[in-house]
Symmetry: C2
Subunit: 202 residues, 2 copies
């Protein structure tokens, strides 16, 4: 059968066979080298794959069409101002013992404007993992109701709260925001307020 | 040639040929379906690949063998306490106009103990990107001098400072820490201090 193909003779086919075997051996050698190299550098390779990346840090947020917002709450002035600026359809509040009253004021303000409000209590504001888990719940609730982009405002709360909420937001592909203001006599001066993007995920 | 192999006759080889062609077609169809599916879901797939993950949030830090530490500085008591606890070989300080004096006190305390100190000024503590870039510089400096694990203490500074430093740490595969303390009369009570892990990268 072979001899008829292309009119090649048996010698040519034998050469091709040997070329094939040679190519196979080279591939085998190459694969073995790759395996050995990969084994020696396994920690670097694993770290390279699993490392987190933040390609869009800082600047002004692009677009303002967030349908849902989650806030780490310490006082009510800033979240209320953000709600007025961005006009979300629904919000989530992460509150602690200290900020429960502020959370209720934000809730009243939001519900007045027909915004749906979800709340989660944080027992230990120093535990980033608790905040991370509660933020995930809120993001799932907000996402479940209707499609649309979400964002998280990490201005309020203690540092572990902001960090825990930020990690949940990054895992969910949700933008994170921060509100800069000047403080005068212990109160934020909302005329100086502006929204900064912490990390954009898309 | 073929007819001699295994003693199979030409009919068997023809069947095998046709089986091969059938398998090829099935593979082709499968590949085409995969391409179409991948195209339709391209955004989801890209998001899944590019999404950040934080598998180790919270808890007590494992091991305390960090060779280098970076601090976001607002006051000197907490970083000095952490230096005493973890005994790093070298440190980096992220200071602002407001925390420059505290930064100098930390530097004096560290140099007394033979710890090498690097400093970076932050012009705008509300810009997470500036803090991210300065933190990267400090981590490169600390890493360049000698091998060993690094960590970052994000307790001090404003929220965008902690976040900017945290993002640089995650990209560099560096652990992040937070110091919890009770405050009494406006000063941290270091007897109540404890170190929490924000995110472990390995």
């Amino acid at each position: 059968m072979n001899e008829q193909l292309f009119g090649w003779n048996e010698q040519t086919w034998l050469y091709l066979d040997q070329l094939g075997i040679l190519a196979g051996n080279v591939m085998l050698l190459f694969s073995l080298c790759a395996v050995v190299f990969g084994w020696l550098r396994r920690d670097n390779i694993r770290r390279w794959f699993s490392r987190n990346r933040f390609p869009h840090i800082g600047g002004k947020p692009e677009g303002k069409d967030w349908q849902g917002l989650v806030f780490t709450v310490s006082r009510d002035e800033l979240p209320c101002w953000v709600i007025g600026q961005l006009r979300p359809k629904r919000i989530g509040l992460l509150v602690t013992d200290h900020s429960e009253a502020a959370g209720k004021r934000i809730q009243a303000y939001a519900e007045q404007q027909g915004i749906a409000v979800h709340r989660r209590m944080i027992e230990n504001a120093d535990d980033p993992n608790e905040v991370y888990l509660r933020t995930r719940e809120l993001l799932q609730l907000l996402r479940g109701e209707e499609s649309g982009r979400l964002a998280i405002d990490i201005t309020g709360g203690k540092v572990p709260m902001s960090l825990g909420a930020f990690m949940a937001a990054e895992e969910a592909g949700v933008d994170s925001l921060y509100v800069s203001t000047r403080f005068e006599q212990g109160r934020p001066d909302m005329r100086s307020a502006s929204i900064t993007s912490v990390s954009r995920t898309q």
